[in-house]
């Protein structure tokens, strides 16, 4: 991995950690991640907030953090043991 790629990755990790501190206290937020743009608008990885189905988009979510776009998607993640 080139130094440039490594810098980009560190930048994304820091931005994700920053976003986590902003939104993870909201109980409707399930997950904060770095991911492939679900809207396919950016070729670069974006920051993704996954919220529970039916929940309102959390207030105060920025459009981007340090230049990295933020997207909000729905999900319903459950543990997967058979019962």
């Amino acid at each position: 991995m080139s130094e440039h790629d490594q810098r980009g990755r560190n930048h994304a990790h820091q931005a994700r950690a920053h976003l986590e501190t902003l939104v993870m206290s909201n109980p409707d937020v399930q997950m904060v991640s770095i991911g492939i743009d679900p809207e396919r608008r950016s070729a670069e990885p974006v920051l993704i907030i996954t919220i529970s189905h039916g929940a309102p988009v959390p207030a105060g979510v920025p459009n981007n953090i340090d230049g990295i776009p933020v997207r909000v998607v729905y999900g319903d993640y459950q543990l997967e043991q058979g019962e």
Binding site: M1, A12, H13, R16, E20, M24, P27, V29, Q30, M31, V32, S33, I34, G35, I36, P38, P45, I48, T50, H53, G54, V73, Y74, G75, D76, Y77, Q78, L79, E80, Q81, G82, E83
Partner: protein
């Protein structure tokens, strides 16, 4: 009447929720997607989830009596939500029998699911559980204690520990209890877990009653562990959905999960979407499976959760799990030499570095189960 394919796909997802929630109800014989019936008329432009029952209860009193005597387990009339869409449910009476002429004792019965059977030797992808919970998860793979060299089973906290009051030494069954595992099927004892490091992972020491191989049921042998990358194509072998394939679309995630009365943030998570739209990547019972890079056979994630809408699997970064548990992945000698060849190819620039071999890192303090 033609329905929008997307709406049909959502209806199928809603039907899967209905199947998961109600098909084991003794009164339910079939769950389907269909046109609802209201007041004896079929509503043509609407899709509903239809429960086909032995007996339809026409009043609340009848339903409550049936719930009390165990003829049924739940009220089937609750609508099912899939994302922003709500599907009404329809309860119809229908008792279905096989269309065969008499009983043919020579007719072959379907083969039993090998993942749910007692296996000797064992391998990754089989049913497993702790001794106290009527459930099953997946035996992820064989790992070696970095300090003692002892052979262990790797799976999830909620498969091997499964209780905040669990103690080291509790027995692990193969197959899991819900697949019929009993005390005679104990193959290991719980040793430690990594929930203290916000990782849903645990290891159990083999008791020597059965051998554990390093390969995965219906997959190539695992060649080692590596870091996940966005876009990587991966495959897994799990108790519930067998071998499935997907693509990593999120990394470095923190996810909120509920474990009984406790909500935990799980770190170092990746998400996996199906390679083909509307295929399943995982289901209940696949917890503990290893997600493996299809290009290199290097394992990158420990599966622990999933979502039906959208269809996604969640896995924890495997090198982080191995470090936290102070173990290394056991690999067969042939796989090890293949890995060395692949790695020298990466260094020479011959092979695209689809995966980065696990960096040597300091083992974290072992976390002993309470």
């Amino acid at each position: 009447m033609q329905f929008d394919p997307m709406m049909l796909a959502r209806a199928r997802l809603a039907m899967r929720v209905g199947i998961r929630n109600h098909l084991f109800d003794p009164n339910v014989r079939m769950v389907s997607v269909g046109l609802p019936e209201k007041g004896g008329k079929i509503i043509e432009n609407q899709l509903a989830i239809r429960y086909h029952v032995v007996e339809k209860y026409h009043s609340q009193i009848q339903l409550e009596a049936a719930l009390e005597n165990g003829s049924t387990q739940s009220d089937l009339r609750a609508p099912i939500r899939v994302g922003q869409f709500t599907f009404e449910t329809d309860v119809v009476q229908g008792k279905y029998l096989p269309h065969v002429w008499g009983w043919n004792p020579w007719q072959p019965t379907p083969p039993p699911n090998p993942r749910a059977q007692r296996a000797d030797p064992m391998r990754g992808g089989l049913s497993i559980s702790d001794e106290f919970h009527n459930s099953y998860g997946t035996l992820g793979g064989k790992v070696i204690d970095r300090a003692t060299g002892v052979e262990m089973i790797l799976s999830n906290w909620h498969v091997l520990v499964a209780d905040w009051g669990a103690r080291a030494g509790q027995r692990i069954y193969q197959p899991g209890r819900l697949d019929g595992g009993r005390s005679g099927d104990a193959v290991a004892t719980l040793t430690r877990h990594a929930m203290g490091a916000n990782l849903d992972a645990a290891v159990a020491t083999l008791n020597g009653s059965r051998q554990l191989l390093t390969d995965q049921l219906n997959l190539n042998p695992v060649a080692g562990a590596a870091l996940a990358q966005l876009g990587m194509e991966v495959t897994k072998s799990g108790r519930r959905t067998d071998v499935t394939r997907g693509r990593i679309v999120d990394v470095d995630a923190t996810v909120r999960m509920t474990y009984g009365p406790v909500t935990k943030l799980i770190h170092n998570v990746m998400s996996i979407e199906p390679l083909v739209s509307f295929e399943q990547v995982s289901g209940p019972g696949d917890s503990g499976s290893l997600w493996i890079d299809t290009a290199t056979n290097l394992a990158v994630g420990l599966h622990f959760a999933g979502s039906d809408f959208p269809e996604r699997g969640l896995a924890i970064d495997l090198p982080t799990v191995l470090d936290a548990l102070n173990v290394r992945l056991a690999i067969a000698p042939a796989a090890a030499s293949a890995r060395r060849a692949a790695w020298s190819g990466i260094q020479l620039g011959i092979v695209a570095p689809a995966a980065t071999p696990m960096p040597a890192s300091q083992a974290q303090e072992a976390l002993v189960a309470r």
